[in-house]
Structure formats: C-alpha cells, structure tokens
Amino acid sequence: MVREIQFRLNGKDVSVICDPLKRLLDVLREDLGMVGTKEACGEGECGACSVLRDGAIVTTCMIPMGAVQGCEITTIEGLRETERGKCLIEAFADGGAVQCGFCIPGMVIAAESLLASNPHPTNEQIRHGISGNLCRCTGYDLIVDSIRLASERGNGLW
C-alpha cells in the first residue's frame, strides 16, 4: 500500500508516493537523491543518518515516512547552503576533522543541533553533543576542536 506524503525538504515543498513504513533514510537517499545522509548501523546507534526534523536532530533510519507528513526536514545538502553550515564545514576542513568523511554529514548536523541550543559549548559539552555519532577514523579530538573553532568563528551565527 502506498500513500502520498508531503513535507518540506531543505526549504522546498516535496511530495513522495511511498509505503508509509519506508524509512525516511531510504526515501532521502533513493527517491530524493540526498545521499549526504549516510547509512551505517541502521539501528540508531551511529548517527550517520542524522538530519534535523523541525530543527531537532533525529536519526532517519528509525523514522517511518508516515511520521514525516507536514514536517520540515533539513539534510546536510540544505545545511551547507546556510551561513551556519558554511561556517561548520570550513571549520571541519581547517581543523582537519575529516578523514574518510563517512560520519561527517551526521557530525555536522549534530554540531548544528548542539550550537543552536548552546552557542559556546565547553569541550565536554561538545563531546556530549556528538555522543550519538560514531567515527571510525579520527578518534574525535579533531572533530571536537573543529566544532569549537566553528563556535569561535561563528560568533553571533548561533
């Protein structure tokens, strides 16, 4: 059984016809081409599939499409067009936070979610803020430094 589900994606109205139990993650990647949202664990533990739903960070591997009707979804493709997104991505690049890059879209979404509620976090608060995101490459230190760099440079953005 399929249904039409309407929501806003990165500021634009979209409509998808799909099974309401299909995961938002699969619709983003397969139907809408938003492949910046990654799948690793598929069970809510790694954060690679994170997006913002109505401004709040959520993992899309656990969300059925039927729960997305009328929501505002922001993926990394949308975030990177904003001043905050640009500031974060530049800080991640300058801070050497990116190795293979697989976890990075989710990390940037987590960083945005953190800074939106706490513009000047301590290192410990940053670690807490990205605690739902796994990275197999960096050992996290450079990611934490880069988020702090973004928070310093982006003074007033958040």
Binding site: E39, G66, H128, S131
Partner: protein, 289 residues
C-alpha cells in the same frame, strides 16, 4: 482488504482501528522500527498491522492536574527532560537515555509499553507510584504501573487499548533526599546495565517517614518492594546505620540479575549504602550524588 499500515487522523479513528484490526501503534519507532528492519532500501515488515501515532496531538502535553503530573504517552524523552513540571528522577532518567537524536524520538509511551526490564523511565515512575490511563472504544480505565508491567515484554494492555498518559501522584511532604544513577556503557547506546532510584523523607524530629527504592536491569522485572522499604520507615534517621545490614540483605533478596549477578548486586549495595549514609549526615542539598 486488510491494510498493513494506517495513519489515523484522530484518537477516535486510532481506537477504532485498534479494535477492528488490532493494529499496534508506532510512536517514536525506536524500538519497533529497529526490531523489524530488513536492511537498506527494504521497507520494514511487521507481523501485525501497525498505525503511526506520532502525529496525534492527543498524546502530547505535560500538565499539572489536581497536583498530579500528567505526561502524554507521545511525549519524547527530550520534552520530559526539559519540563519543570516533571519530578527530578524522571527528568534525570529521560536525560540519560541515548543521545539527543534518540531523545527527540523515543517516547514515554513506547518505553513503558515495550516493557523491557532494562527500560529506564519505569524505574523512577514505579518509585513514584505512577498510574497509567488506558483508552479503548469502550472507555477509559486507570491502572497502576506496577500492575501494568506483568513481566519482561508483557503488559496488561488489552488488544483494543492504547496508553493515553502517565500520571505521577504528588508526593506530600516532598522527599528530603533523592538519588538516581544509571550505569551503562557507551553513553549514546547506554541500554542500562543497572539503575537505581531512591528517595527518603525525614521529618523535623529526624524520623524517617518515607523511603522508596527501585532497581532497573537487575532482574526480569523492575525491582521494588514496599515491605523491604518499610524496614527503614518509622525509625530515627540516626538508627539507619544499625538497620543497614539487614535492609541491604533484604533488598538484595528482591533482585534477580541474570548476567553478571555479583556485579549488579554489589553495585546496588554500594549505591544504597552511599545514599543512606549521606542522608544521615543531613546535607543541605536534596539531590545526593
């Protein structure tokens, strides 16, 4: 034709679907979508019809009603952790569940109805004598959380019912000292290894007028026993030390941990000892760490 999934537009439709099709609700989906996932690009499949209820406003809202706190079944852990109406141990337990992304999805209704002995919110809720309001096409009933949680993954929810809200009665007089601790592994994936929620009330004469304690992940059910609690009630707080060994042994008797039993038993003992001994020193701050 029987559909496999529904998106009811209001409570009436949800209750009718529940009655006629037996559809199970998906709230945050953090238990159900993970348990029934089938991999990349494949739609999760459920052995029964399901209905998505996360959009229904009727399950939302945290309110104070006649001194009792009412938490809608669809309230997320995030909404609970930031609400000043909610008692501290419940806020604390909610704030320690998973990462922010999980807390934005996971609901109290899902946590309670999933009935895992490792679920975090039922531990302080049981300590606070919480009740549940259940609705069906035939009406509304209330049941204590203690009676609702029948066993691991088993509840008293009927096939035609939905959980509407969790009600936390007022505690009068307020607890003097509170304790909540969760021992997990990786924070964001911290399915509890063990948790303990405890509270004690001491009157102006220094008598213990109430004491409660509940343990999560220490057996097939969340452990709480009023008779054991009563061993410490009605005595001067200064007598706690001499009652402690017998009390700790009795509390140990209500735990039934399967994996790593020595670790769970000794950690529980140490936490209770620390909480009670600290309470005896009458610190100024009500939350004991």
């Amino acid at each position: 034709m029987v559909e496999t999934s529904y998106i009811p537009k209001d409570l009436e439709e949800a209750l009718r679907l529940r009655k006629e099709t037996g559809a199970k609700p998906i709230a945050g989906g953090t238990d159900l979508m993970v348990a029934h996932r089938r991999g990349t690009g494949v739609v999760p499949k459920f052995p029964w019809p399901v209905m998505i209820v996360s959009q229904l406003a009727v399950f939302k809202g945290i309110r104070l009603e006649d001194g009792e706190v009412s938490i809608g079944a669809g309230c997320t852990c995030h909404e609970i952790e930031v609400s000043e109406l909610v008692p501290w141990p419940v806020r604390m337990a909610a704030s320690l569940m998973g990462a922010q992304s999980l807390r934005n999805l996971a609901t109290i209704g899902g946590n309670v109805c999933n009935a895992s002995p490792k679920a975090d919110l039922p531990v302080p809720l049981l300590m606070l004598d919480a009740r549940l309001e259940l609705a069906s096409v035939s009406g509304i009933r209330q049941i204590s959380l203690n009676d609702f949680l029948v066993g691991p993954k088993k509840t008293a929810l009927r096939d035609d019912e939905l959980l509407m809200r969790v009600i936390i009665p007022a505690v009068n007089p307020a607890f003097t000292y509170l304790w909540y601790r969760k021992i997990g592994t990786r924070r964001a994936n911290a399915i509890s290894k063990l948790s303990l929620c405890a509270a004690i009330t001491i009157d102006t004469e220094g008598m213990v007028t109430d004491f409660r304690s509940a343990s999560g992940a220490a057996g097939p059910r969340i452990a709480r026993n009023r008779m054991v609690e009563e061993m410490l009630i009605g005595i001067p707080i200064t007598d706690i030390e001499e009652r402690l060994p017998a009390f700790l042994d009795a509390y140990d008797g209500i735990l039934a941990p399967q994996a790593m039993p020595e670790y769970r038993r000794s950690s529980t003992r140490r936490m209770l000892e620390h909480f009670l001994r600290t309470a005896v020193t009458r610190p100024a701050h009500g939350i004991i760490e």
